[in-house]
């Protein structure tokens, strides 16, 4: 990794942490969702800095739609989506903090204690990466993705079915 890559990796990493923190510093749901989007874009930037072009672009593309739709749903269901009346929307703060710290320690331990394989000196070319990812998706990881995809589809159909208003049946 060149020093320039390392610099960009650091900058995007710090940006991701900063925006992640901003998510919880606002009472407006839309600001919160857009901060999360910025954090996700910074993660995409980290992928790009690591020469993982496809993953970076994919991350940046997918999150735009996902975070916006999430903002929309929060607008619909929250009692104070604009954060105008300073309503407190947090609850069970202590257990939440404990779980958060615990999960953080766990992730850190996993990252530090896993015997990672040695890093490759040179990342494969972007075209090669696209090819390899395609082969991976169509062979070893196929079952996982197909199962996940089918589950999501079933959930979507179920959600639509429950939301439909059926005409009243005569007794």
């Amino acid at each position: 990794m060149t020093p320039l890559q390392l610099l960009f990796l650091g900058v995007f990493g710090l940006a991701a942490i900063w925006f992640g923190w901003r998510v919880f510093r606002t009472k407006s749901m839309v600001r919160s969702a857009l901060s999360l989007l910025a954090a996700m874009v910074a993660l995409g930037g980290m992928f790009l800095a690591l020469d993982a072009e496809f993953l970076g672009v994919l991350q940046i593309m997918m999150m735009a739609g996902e975070m916006s739709i999430m903002a929309f749903f929060m607008m619909m269901y929250m009692m104070d989506p604009g954060g105008m009346s300073s309503m407190n929307m947090t609850h069970q703060q202590r257990p939440a903090a404990a779980v958060g710290i615990g999960a953080g320690v766990l992730v850190l331990a996993l990252a530090l204690l896993t015997p990672w394989p040695p890093a490759q000196a040179l990342a494969p070319s972007a075209t090669q990466q696209n090819h390899d990812l395609g082969i991976e998706l169509m062979t070893r990881s196929m079952m996982i993705f197909e199962t996940a995809g089918t589950s999501i589809l079933v959930a979507m159909i179920a959600a639509v079915a429950t939301a439909l208003a059926y005409p009243q049946q005569p007794d």
């Binding site: 072009e53 593309m61 739609g65 607008m75």
Partner: protein, 300 residues
Amino acid sequence: MENPLTLLVVLLLFGGGVYALAVLEYWSVAGQLAWGRPARLVLHLLLKEEIRPRQSDTVLYETAPVLFLAAAALAAAVLPWSADAPLLGLATGALFVNAAFAYVMVAMLMGGWAVNGVYAMLGGWRFLGQLIAYSMPLVMALTATVMRAESMLPARIVTSQLELWNIVYQPIGFGLFYLAALALAFLPPFDFPVAAGELAGGVWAEFTGARLLLFRLGRLLLIMTLALTVTVFFLGGWQGPWLPGFAWTFLKTLLVAASFFGVGRYLPRLRYDQMLEWSWKYATPAALVNILWVGILLLL
């Protein structure tokens, strides 16, 4: 980009094209070609008083117009004008174009929310709904062109059309992409987020002066970029006899953009629920059929 002269020519053509689009846009509304009007309008908007809505969200208010312009410009950067002239040769070009277009929606949503106005907010959320209608046909039509080229490199997609342009090879995909492009640039008949006469300007209602100028310039840039995308992915890009490559790209792009405005001039605005219904019930399945069609052709 090897040759700085080609780069200069391409940039000049792109800028000139955007100016021509501004003239065409006025033609599509008023029916006359006023060549000096865009320049006068730029001066007017730059000198106009800036009116800020009360209690607007400063960060989002300032970010939205810039992000809108940047998204359109970034998408244009990966599209090739001739065999040796993409500004940025990305191996994931086709995906990158989609990623950039997604942020058009984010910018509109931001702008709609930031100004603290009802019409603007409605316009912003409407565009999010519109995204759900146009994004699937858009992405799946692009996917089919990528399948044929076996590469996401836009230049490779152009060379895959040497024998037969994609508009003939996959006409369903072309039709879907064309309509989705109209919806993405919120041109009539899909101009719901700004909806003049209904939402009083929608997302743009509260923006004035230079920021409104950025939005309107960004929209023209977006239309130009979308027309360029249609040219590269479906109309054989730079291919054509006699003229140099970039001239063909320019002519095709301008023709596609003019047709965008032509459609808007003769069609009324759709009903919002009809657009969503038709998109999900007919356009998305048609996009899947298109992928199947291209797959069968590739295997034959």
